[in-house]
Amino acid sequence: MARELSTGAAINEAIAIAMRSDPDVILMGEDVAGGGDRSKEGTEEMGGVLGTTRGLVGEFGMNRVRDTPIAEMGLIGTAVGAAATGLRPIAELMFMDFLGTSLDPLLNQAAKLRYMFGGKVKVPLTVRTVCGAGMQAAAQHSQSLYWMTTGIPGLKTVIPSSPADAKGLLLASIRDDDPVIFCEAKGILNQTGEVPEGDYEIPLGQANVVREGSDVSLVGFGATVGIAMKAAKALDGAGTSAEVLDLRSLSPLDEEAILATLEKTGRMVIIDESTPRCSIARDVAALCVDRGFDFLNAPVKCVTAPHTPVPFSSVLERAFLPSAQNVLDAVGEMG
C-alpha cells in the first residue's frame, strides 16, 4: 500500500519506525523537539525549523528526543561519543553549511575511531543535514558540501532524490553501524510522492536506474534527479533516448552502475548542484575516464553550480542552480 507523502513526512516516518524498533536510537539536535522542556506543554507542532521532526518528542519523550544548545561541535561530538559507547544516535546538523562549526568530531573522531582503534569500536551515528539552494537562504545556509564528507574515509554519505527513497535510505543509514551523513536536499523537501507503508530499507551503495535509455546517460542525485528527468523528457521529444541514473549513495559509490550506463550509451552528463572543484561530478567523470575509457563516445560533461557562493536574489539563485536547459546544452555540445 502506498500513499503520497512529502519528503519531510517520509523522513519523520523513518525516524519513528527506527525509534520504535530499537530503544538505543535517540534523536538530538537544535530544535528537533522544539521548545525545550515546554514540549511537554504541547509545542509538539514544532519539530525542527522545517517541521521534519514534529511529533517525535510526543511519542518517545525527552530522554530520547533532546533539544541541544546551538553548539554544533558539542552536539555532534557528544553524539559521536554516545555512538561509540552503545547508543545509536541520530544527530541533526540543521544546515550542511554548519559542517564548518562541527567538522572536528566528524573528521577526526567519528571517521577515525574505528580505524585508529584497530577495529575495536564502531560508531553507528547518523547525521541528518539539510543541503542545497533554492529557498533563497543565501550563501551560509545553502551549500551542498557532500563532496567534503564523501572524501573523508570512515564516513558514508547518502542523498535521496524522492520521498520513498528518503524513508528507505534513512532507515538503512540509522541501522548501518558506520557514521552516515544523510543529506536532505532543499530541492526535494516539499516534493511529494508515493511512499510505501511499513519498515523497509534501501541498501547503501546501490544506484538506481530511474529511467532507461540508450543514447545518453544523465547521472544525478538528490534534487538533480528531477532536473535530469525534465531534460530526458525534452530529449525524448527530439528523438534522443536518455537514461537517468540516481546515484543515491555517494560513499559508498556504485561504480559498477555508473560504468554500466556509460557502456550502454557512450555519453554521460553528470548533474551536481554543488560547486565544480573537487565535486562529485568531477569525481564520477574521472572514474569514467579511468575505468570506462573505451566506452567514451563523447566527452563527459559536468553540469554544476558555478565556482561562487550562493547568491540571495531569486534571479541569481536560479542562475546558480543547474537547470534542465543546462543539461540540454551539455548534450548538444558533447556531440
Binding site: 557512450g266 575509457f293 573505451d294 566506452f295 567514451l296 563516445n297 563523447a298 556531440g335
Partner: protein, 424 residues
C-alpha cells in the same frame, strides 16, 4: 650486560649529529646520569648522560665524526672485565636512520608511449571508436567521422564495419564497395577521378529498369579498402573492376573511370560486352593535371564545400552555372560526393593517372568491342575526348553541345539516350 650509547634524535627534524667530545676515556668508571658525551646538531650542543653505571668500555664513533640518529656511538658494560664482543654488539644495536626507507622501483609502461601531438592524427577519434575499431581489426583513422569536428564515433566505426561486410573482395586483402541493383544483363559503372558511384546519379534510375547495375567504388573511395600504396595504377583499377563480376558485362566509365574501362577492354576483351567512354582521355592535358594538383591541395586543406565550389566551374558549362539554385544544389551534392574520397586516395589516383597518361595512345586501334564515345562541347578538362571515336574501330560518337566535363550530371537525357541506344 652492555648498555648502548647511541646518537639520539632530539627533535623531529634532527637527522644527524656530530660527536664533539667524549668526556671519559675507555676503561673509566661512569655513574648513571654522568655526562659521558657532548654532541652537536643544528648548531646546538647537547650533553648525553650515561643510561647506566659501569665501565665506559668501547668507542665506535670518534670525535669530529657526523652520523645519522640511531647510530651506535659507544658502549658501557656493568663490569670492567666481563665478556664483550664489540662487533656483535654493534650489529645488534646500530640503527642509523636512512632516508625514506627502501629503494624505489621505476615501472615502465608495458604499452608504447603515446604519440606526440605532432605525430597524432589530427582527426579526433572517440575512445569508444578506437576500441571498436581495434576489436574489428579496422584503422579508425581511415574511417569518416560524423561527430563534432569530424570526430570518429563508435557508430561511424560500426557503420563502416557493416558496410564493409557488404564489400566485394577483388584482390589479396582488398575489398571494394559495389553498389548493386536491378536485374538483367550486367552493367558496370566506373566513376572518375575523385568521385564515387553517385556521379552516375542521373543514370542509375534509368539503367536499373533494364539492367543489373554494379557501381564500383575504386580503392580508397567510399567504404572501399584504401591500402597504403604510392599510387593506384589504372591497370589495377581495371583488374579490380574485372574481379567484381563474372562473365561479360557492359562497361561504362567516365573520365579516369573511362581510362579504367579502356584498360579493361584491352586486357580482358572477352569480359566486355560493350564499352561506353564518357569524356575520356588517353593523354592528360596540362590543364587537367593542374586542376588535379589544385584538387589535391584543397582536399587536404579546405572544407568539402570550398573544394566543391572550386571544382564546380571546371565540371559544368556556363549555361548550367547560370542557374544559381541549380548551382547551389549541385554544390551541396558535389561536396558530399567529394567527401567520400579522402585526400590520400586522391593523391594515389592522380599518381596513377599521371603514370598511365600516354601509355595507350597507340593501342586504341586494338579495341575490339563495340564502343560509344560521349564527349561534351564545353569540356575544359578533356577537350580532345571526341578524337578517341575516330581512333577506335567502329566506335560511335555522341557530342553533347554546350555541356561541361560532368556531362552525365549536366545533360542526363542526352547521355542516357545515347547509352540505352548503345546497349541495345
Amino acid at each position: 650486560m652492555a648498555t648502548p650509547i647511541s646518537m639520539p634524535k632530539l627533535g623531529m627534524t634532527m637527522e644527524e649529529g656530530t660527536v664533539v667530545r667524549w668526556e671519559f676515556d675507555v676503561g673509566a668508571h661512569v655513574e648513571k646520569g654522568d655526562v659521558v658525551l657532548v654532541i652537536e646538531s643544528e648548531k646546538n650542543e647537547a650533553d648525553i648522560e650515561a643510561a647506566a653505571s659501569g665501565t665506559f668500555r668501547h668507542v665506535y664513533i670518534e670525535e669530529g665524526d657526523t652520523v645519522p640518529c640511531g647510530t651506535l656511538l659507544g658502549a658501557i658494560t656493568e663490569s670492567p672485565d666481563e665478556a664483550f664482543d664489540a662487533s656483535a654488539f654493534q650489529a645488534a644495536e646500530d640503527h642509523p636512520e636512512t632516508q625514506a626507507g627502501g629503494s624505489l622501483e621505476v615501472r615502465t609502461p608495458t604499452r608504447q608511449t603515446p604519440p606526440s601531438p605532432a605525430e597524432r592524427q589530427t582527426k579526433p577519434i572517440a575512445p569508444a571508436a578506437r576500441a571498436a575499431a581495434k576489436k574489428l581489426g579496422l584503422d579508425p583513422t581511415q574511417i569518416r567521422g560524423t561527430g563534432p569536428g569530424g570526430r570518429v564515433t563508435k557508430q561511424d566505426v560500426e557503420a563502416h564495419a557493416s558496410a564493409r561486410e557488404a564489400l566485394t573482395p577483388v584482390a589479396n586483402g582488398v575489398a571494394l564497395e559495389v553498389v548493386a541493383g536491378g536485374s538483367g544483363e550486367t552493367v558496370l559503372l566506373l566513376p572518375g577521378l575523385g568521385t564515387d558511384v553517385s556521379a552516375f546519379a542521373r543514370q542509375t534510375p534509368v539503367l536499373l529498369e533494364r539492367f543489373r547495375l554494379l557501381g564500383v567504388n575504386p580503392r580508397g573511395v567510399g567504404h572501399s579498402d584504401g591500402p597504403e600504396e604510392a599510387a593506384y595504377p589504372v591497370e589495377q583499377t581495371a583488374s579490380d573492376a574485372a574481379a567484381t563480376y563474372e562473365g561479360a558485362a557492359h562497361v561504362i566509365g567516365a573520365s579516369l573511370g573511362a581510362a579504367a574501362a579502356l584498360e579493361l577492354a584491352l586486357r580482358f576483351p572477352d569480359r566486355v560486352k560493350s564499352l561506353t567512354l564518357i569524356t575520356p582521355f588517353v593523354e592528360s592535358n596540362p590543364r587537367l593535371l593542374a586542376v588535379a594538383e589544385a584538387w589535391q591541395r584543397l582536399a587536404a586543406e579546405a572544407t568539402g564545400e570550398t573544394l566543391a565550389a572550386a571544382l564546380l566551374p571546371w565540371f559544368f558549362s556556363p549555361g548550367f552555372l547560370a542557374d544559381t539554385s541549380v548551382r547551389a544544389r549541385t554544390l551541396r551534392g558535389l561536396a558530399q560526393t567529394l567527401a567520400r574520397v579522402p585526400a590520400p586516395t586522391l593523391s594515389r589516383m592522380v599518381a596513377g593517372l599521371a603514370a598511365w597518361s600516354g601509355t595507350r595512345t597507340q593501342d586504341l586501334s586494338r579495341v575490339a568491342v563495340p564502343t560509344l564515345v560521349i564527349s561534351a562541347g564545353d569540356d575544359l578538362l578533356t577537350p580532345g575526348a571526341g578524337t578517341l571515336a575516330t581512333e577506335i574501330p567502329g566506335a560511335s560518337h555522341v557530342e553533347v553541345a554546350g555541356a561541361g566535363h560532368a556531362v552525365a550530371l549536366e545533360a542526363p537525357e542526352a547521355v542516357n539516350g545515347a547509352i540505352l541506344k548503345h546497349l541495345s
